[in-house]
């Protein structure tokens, strides 16, 4: 079984060797004349204003949390949709109840103002 993967190992080894070799060759042969402009983060882009490792608004977490929760319902909707015909009216009603329960949660989130950015 492992023999089947032999070409992949060769490929990985070749890739690593080639990549490191090219970098080193460049370092030895190429001229190196750094200027202040060249060594900036984006040579022909915007000047970086401040560090990226700063705190950002708590609202992002709120949106992320709500997204995770309301996103995962699709996990249940998809198998239901695929076997919709076999499940029939009972499956439809069950899913209706499921969505209704989610809707209750959505109304809560909405009325509490968690969806408003400001």
């Amino acid at each position: 079984m492992i023999e089947q993967y032999y070409p992949i190992f060769v490929m990985i080894a070749g890739g690593v060797v080639f990549g490191v070799l090219m970098g080193k060759v460049n370092e030895f042969l190429g001229p190196s004349r750094p200027t202040e402009e060249k060594s900036s983060t984006y040579e022909s882009g915007m000047e970086p204003i401040k560090t990226a490792r700063e705190r950002f608004s708590i609202k992002f977490y709120m949106v992320a949390m709500l997204f995770i929760i309301f996103d995962i319902e699709v996990v249940f909707l998809y198998p239901w949709a695929v076997s919709y015909k076999q499940l029939g009216i009972q499956g439809f009603v069950t899913m209706f109840v499921f969505i209704a329960v989610l809707l209750v949660g959505y109304i809560y989130v909405w009325r509490k103002g968690a969806l408003e950015w400001d």
Binding site: Q90, T94, V104, I107, Y108, K112
Partner: protein, 474 residues
Amino acid sequence: MSLNIADFVSSSPLMAVTATALLLILVEASRKGRPGLSFTLSMAGLFAASVFAVVNYSDEQIVFFGMLRQGWYANFLNLVFLSAAMLTVLVSKPYLERQGAHRGEYYILILFATIGMMFMAGANDLIVVFLGIELMSLCLYVLAGFFRTKDTSNESALKYFLLGAFATGFLLYGITLIYGTAGTTNLEAISKNLPTLSSQWMFMVGVGLLLTAFAFKVAAVPFHMWAPDVYEGAPTTVTAFMSTGAKAAAFATFVLLFHQVFQFTGSKVNDLIAYIAAASMVLGNVIAIAQANIKRMLAYSSIAHAGYMLSGIAAGNSEGQTGILFYLVAYTLMNVGAFGIVGLMEKVDDQNLQLDDYTGLSQQRPFLAALMAIFMFSLAGVPPFAGFFGKYYVFLSAVKADMTWLAVVGVMTSLVSAYYYLRIVVLMYFRDGKGDVAAQPAIPALVAVTSSAILLLQFGIFPSFIVNAVQKLF
């Protein structure tokens, strides 16, 4: 296969609590700042569910495509969970008002946690066990951190969350290995194939992982280290609920799995449970002596009580089952009562939580002191309170299962425990007060603690009432 009305009728306690919880979410969404309404509605919903549980106290039947088993066992435990929830709700209202954190979400979370517990007791499938535990635990994580501006509450929530989620991993891996070897997650089917399954090492590893996860949930040694921190940091009323409802639910599933599905009576598995039980009794009781904070002391005492109940599981006979179920009723009443009084005594900013603060309570608040004394006597296992018969039945079952050493350890550690329980009684009655212990009067909380004390006395004097109801089950 199709659903029919009977499925919904026999699981009506579950449906009632679920409907109330959803209604409460809508109430909370529509009217801002009306937690009083949520309090009333949640009490009404819990009471209605208890009525349904009494009405449906009947033969067991499998409902919802073999997922749930409703009947005697589930409804008996439903009544325990619902009473724990009702008593907690009653003691919570004045407590939260005093602490300035009275919000409707509290009741929603209590109700959803109760639903999770009811799923655990009525499970007939490992998937339902998993979902029940998670629904309960997730609500309790949030409740532990309910005082979000308090460092201790936040810290308790984080510790509970991390260790609880860690235990979930073990639970899930256990379920997976059992599913892989048994080919099903249905408890009845597993129970039928048990003789062939129990010779497979992978199945036994799965059972071991489940045992680990449940030992975590009931806070048994060596998986107890979260309990003191979490119980101390969480709001006192939440601790009351965690230490009774959640523990009762974990034991309900424990009995369901390790008595009715995996029958390993007399095997190595039961010996292992016996060692865990003995270690919990010894460690919980010995460390509790050294505590100065009453919530922490009660946390170690709850580890010890988990040990007493585990000895009923280790015995594995029908006396053990009766004993555990009786114990759960008694333990729920006395622990909610004790934490309820701690909640009444507690002031803002964690004041009045040391044992010394109870000095001379009998002079200033004789009624509260008398109730606290009842709970302490019952926790210590002094007759005629229900706590005594709980211990009596589990130790009796251990003796009948040829585990006399376990019963001896139990009795010895109970004697040790009497020291720290009765110390509070001595402080309250035989020492002069510091003058500033005045607990705030609060009608709902007083109703709750008084009724738990009365029930403790009643079940202590007439234990046959519960024992008959329980023995019908098996």
